[in-house]
């Protein structure tokens, strides 16, 4: 893992608010993180925590009723301030994105090859023939057998796993510096999941690109992430490198997530579940957003919202009572074998 001093992508106090007919939805409410060259940053959280919206905000792919604030800086350029034309030059070219459901994310009436070539012709100024050859190469590189045949096939003719590989081929066709992967394996079988993650890791090594891996699955995080952002209700609640996060979680939410992973090595009568549900974004609770579900909740949590503080070097958590998590951990000794 090559750690350059300067981050490739820097997100600072990003906010994304939606003006809906039912009120203002603060999908992302002030998050900050960095992505360094060649590393994989994992963003983990339950559905509705704002992790996908955050990605779409970076790419400026949101609808007009979205209000994006804060700063997003890529290679020193401020993305929100770029003209639409310049932004288009970055999309698919410097920063690429792949989505969760490959069946619906690919246009059913065009061949897979056509959709890959499109990006190549657009960003790299190649001719149709050259792009076609490059598309075949990409398909081969992502491990699709018989690429010369597949390139002329339609999305519905490929299996789920192959479609996702094709999406990856499409995203990487122009050699992006950053690949944003929004739940890329969620819709796939477990066995295919592993293959896709393997593929992404090897491509990352080959291309030297950074990956932002967005997922709700800690297993995926454990597999590929170098550093992790844990999000809840539009905010970052914990931010650390992967090993530290799994070994030494500070935030009750992270603690809860880790505990919820079923284990084969110890006896469990009941599977642990974080009590309660993700709060309605229109009616966030007062104080700490996690207070309705936190087993360590105290009076202070219901009135004041904690800040994100550096609890140890390069490890941040947003909680008043992280020592309670320490104590719990000492008691149960969970979080070790990860």
């Amino acid at each position: 893992m090559n750690k350059d001093k300067r981050p490739l992508l820097e997100v600072k106090d990003l906010t994304t608010y939606f003006h809906t007919e039912d009120g203002l939805v603060k999908a992302v409410d002030g998050i900050s993180y960095e992505v360094f060259p060649g590393e994989t940053l994992g963003i983990v959280g339950e559905s509705g925590c704002g992790k996908s919206v955050n990605a779409l905000s970076i790419m400026r792919l949101l609808e007009s009723n979205a209000d994006v604030g804060g700063s997003i800086s890529f290679e020193g350029q401020s993305l929100p301030e770029l003209s639409e034309r310049k932004m288009r030059g970055i999309r698919g070219n410097d920063i690429a994105m792949i989505f969760q459901e490959p069946m619906t994310a690919l246009n059913p009436v065009f061949t897979v090859g056509n959709q890959i070539e499109e990006a190549i012709i657009l960003h790299q100024n190649k001719s149709q023939d050259e792009a076609h050859k490059m598309a075949i190469d990409m398909l081969r590189k992502v491990g699709i057998p018989e690429p010369t045949k597949r390139v002329d096939e339609y999305p519905h003719e490929l299996s789920g796993g192959m479609r996702q590989r094709a999406m990856i081929a499409m995203a990487l066709s122009c050699n992006p510096r950053v690949l944003i992967a929004d739940e890329p394996t969620t819709a796939l079988d477990v066995t295919i999941q592993a293959q896709i993650l393997e593929l992404m890791k090897s491509l990352q090594d080959e291309y030297g690109m950074s990956i932002i891996m967005i997922t709700h699955d800690l297993g995926v995080i454990a597999e590929v992430a170098d550093r992790v952002v844990v999000m809840y209700a539009g905010k970052v609640v914990e931010y650390a490198d992967a090993v530290t996060l799994f070994k030494n979680p500070k935030h009750p939410y992270t603690w809860g997530l880790l505990n919820a992973i079923p284990r084969l090595d110890i006896e469990q009568d009941t599977l642990y579940n974080i009590p309660g549900v993700v709060p309605d974004p229109l009616h966030f609770p007062e104080g700490c957003k996690f207070n309705t579900r936190c087993t360590f909740c105290e009076e202070r949590c219901k009135k004041e919202e904690p800040e994100l503080i550096e609890v140890e070097k390069n490890h941040y958590a947003r909680c008043f009572f992280i020592e309670k998590v320490e104590k719990e951990k000492a008691k149960t000794k969970a979080g070790e074998n990860l």
Partner: protein, 344 residues
Amino acid sequence: MTAYIIRRLLILPIILIGITLIIFSMIWMLGPDRLLASYIKSPEALKTPDAKERLIAKYGLDQPTVVQYFKWLGNILQGDFGYSNIAKKPVQEAIAERIPYTLELAMWAIIPVIVGGVWLGVLSGTHHNQPLDHGIRIFSLIGWSMPDFVFGLLILLLFYTILGWFPPGYLSYESEAVLRSGEWHRYTNMATIDSILNGNFKIFIDAFRHLIGPILTIAYLWWAYVLRITRSSMLEVLKKDYIRTARAKGLSEKVVINKHARKNALIPVVTVAGGMLVSLLAGVVIVESVFNRPGLGRFTAQAATQLDYFSILGSALVFSVILVLVNLIVDISYAFIDPRIRLS
């Protein structure tokens, strides 16, 4: 896809037979007395006392229904649709004479209707909820709510009575005189085409002038229809994931709409194209009546008012068969457009 096409083709004869059954049941509903009226050419024939029974027997109107059906069907298949009292000639001849005029109108109307409707629909869908969208929607809604004959009358009022630009009818008297003269060669019986083939531009202009009123009437109502479907289809498509992917690749909005969205949006439009045809055929009846064009539509209307049963039933049969065949073509081409069906 071949299975799909074969299935459609196999169902076709069933539908056609079904149509003949419906048409015949209407004939049957008329009863022997009224049918007799269609057979005899003048009331004189009924003067003698037992004339009615004799004639009923002569035309087989007292035979069992099933027998009558097959006899009628046999006649139809041989091209004998009965005798038309209003045209004073066999129905099939009357129909054959008039079809070119209707075809001509349909031919000239289809392209502006479809192209205009789709273009407006895409425009409306891509400017969702903006003033342009609202304006086009109101335009469409009024067209949707406007009866074709009212609109036709208004067009006539404005463009003919007041402005004198687009007269009703088929051709002016002068042009008709030319058509009757020996110098004119009838190729298709359609004045617009024949005039080009005959090299007579003046008549082309004249024929076209008479076409504009009907075309405008058909077009306005149709734009309303095509527009709505294209618009809602467009709105649906623009919400799809693959549109987001296309934008994520850095494609310009123009390419996203024209390449990625449009093809998908048009698929449902083609699907309902068949349903549109029904309205078009019905509309022809009204439009030709209002603008006095001597086509199949006006013939049907006249037959209805003057109770010329064989004429109207013959027309209905022809309309239905055309409708079924065109639907078949539309269905098959739909299979070609959507690769998901083509390759299954």
